[in-house]
Symmetry: C2
Subunit: 318 residues, 2 copies
Amino acid sequence: MKYYGGIDLGGTNTKIGLLDTNANLIFSTSIKTEAIKGFEDTVDRICNAFKEEVRKNNINYDDIIAIGAGIPGPALDKRVCVGFANLPWPNDLKMADLIEEKLNKPCFIDNDVNVITLGENFAGAAKGYKDILCIAIGTGIGAGIISGGKIISGKKGAAGEIGHLVLVPNGMLCGCGHNGCFEAYASATGIERIANSELVVNRTSSLHELKKVRNIEAKDVFDAAKNGDILANQIVDKEADYLALGISHGLNLVNPSVVVLGGGVALAGDFLLDKVKKILPQYALSATLDGLEIKGATLGNDAGIYGAAYLAMTELGE
Amino acid sequence: MKYYGGIDLGGTNTKIGLLDTNANLIFSTSIKTEAIKGFEDTVDRICNAFKEEVRKNNINYDDIIAIGAGIPGPALDKRVCVGFANLPWPNDLKMADLIEEKLNKPCFIDNDVNVITLGENFAGAAKGYKDILCIAIGTGIGAGIISGGKIISGKKGAAGEIGHLVLVPNGMLCGCGHNGCFEAYASATGIERIANSELVVNRTSSLHELKKVRNIEAKDVFDAAKNGDILANQIVDKEADYLALGISHGLNLVNPSVVVLGGGVALAGDFLLDKVKKILPQYALSATLDGLEIKGATLGNDAGIYGAAYLAMTELGE
Ligand SMILES: [Zn+2]
Ligand SMILES: [Zn+2]
């Protein structure tokens, strides 16, 4: 059997796993990233943990073909980290070289959302598809796009930045500095900003009492909406409208066969998804909706490990 | 020398040419499409005209490797015409098979905007690039997207429909039936609709007298704006804003190295392009603007022949 390592480098924790070519997870473990100690230290600890798990699981090291890694930022040529928004590490870090040196196996890296997309393609909701739009809706919104079986990376690895499509010119301020981004409205953070702001003047919502105790979270809004709260339902309806508009831009530009929605907001499930599907025909060309499937992600937090291993597999043409 | 045929099937005229692998145009000719006579008749006349020109130019038929064709509608798998918006021909027409039978050479087809994009990549403004967004702004707006050297077609060949991104929810009606599409505002038709509508109430513009005689065209608006007309400049400024917004969506999603603007509206040149470049940083992520080039198309009406031949060349992996 051939094996591929998968590393999912996160701001707080880093997951490390090994998969076979049939998408069986042989092992997975996790370490603290502790980026503050420097990238050399983190890479050392990741590689040591990987080798230790390989030993413990009695895997012949020679059967491990290659390693993939997902990183929280854009990647170039599957080798270089262009920059990290949230880690105190230098730009243009040659992460693939570093890991190759330590593990003595070919290594390939890509942006974390691209890697999640590959994971869902390998073993999750997008299994068997070749044209995929995978959108992660959490504190931010990012997308991975697979076209004809290949991740679209773009010139600087910045493709898939669907969260920063300006849907509302002169709208709400986004973390990127622009106004009116998709992410400013439709991420969990966006829902929370809108809910907490509207509750300053709305005193009839069931969320009003909760707001006295703590800030409202996106999940509170969905829970209240499911229980019939009027304000919460208005917020969810707007959320569905922004999601439909943002998704429609992806549909019209790359015409995928499947849209996979992941991240915390997608956990709202069919309650949200059904609303999005209802609105989509207002925005997306009918040709792009013909036969389109829209699904929730299925791999959850493991998508990164699966995808990183699959990245290595596909880059080597297996 | 190896040669590739290029066919640019249009609603009124069809252009037919032959190129060598160095992008030298050996011949080009044109026939009336006369689609009303049926697709068999049109394909017959195209193929006969091609063979006649080959004879006249003393090209050895064996040196012709393959044929490409651009068609006015989406294409599937480089072989099948999904449907024609403006020709009275059946859906799912196996155009590549028809041409292969007549010409006895492998044939590949794609959507006309994709083919124009390939043309600009082969011999025009996008020569040497691998990540390209080419936008044709004429009576409508369409785009071709090349990522990592490959055209993005999507599941139903409907990728690149940038003209139908809804930029203004509940906005102006578009030909597709939706409201607020990019194309409804920023195509030549959009500019003309806006100008003719605003001239109903504006009597101070230099265009007012012209409007008494005939409908205002997009070129009239650009000419008047260049001459300092206030209303015309307002319309052009809004046009630049819509173009920047629409282009930014393409940049954020596929992160190209070059944007090529073609079609009648692009003939306004730097007067328009400079305004668009100035507004873009409001909408596009700075990472997508880093090193980005924005250029006018250079092949004009020949882009289709060049691109069709190049389609055949690339599909055969030459
Ligand atoms: Zn933003
Ligand atoms: Zn439209």
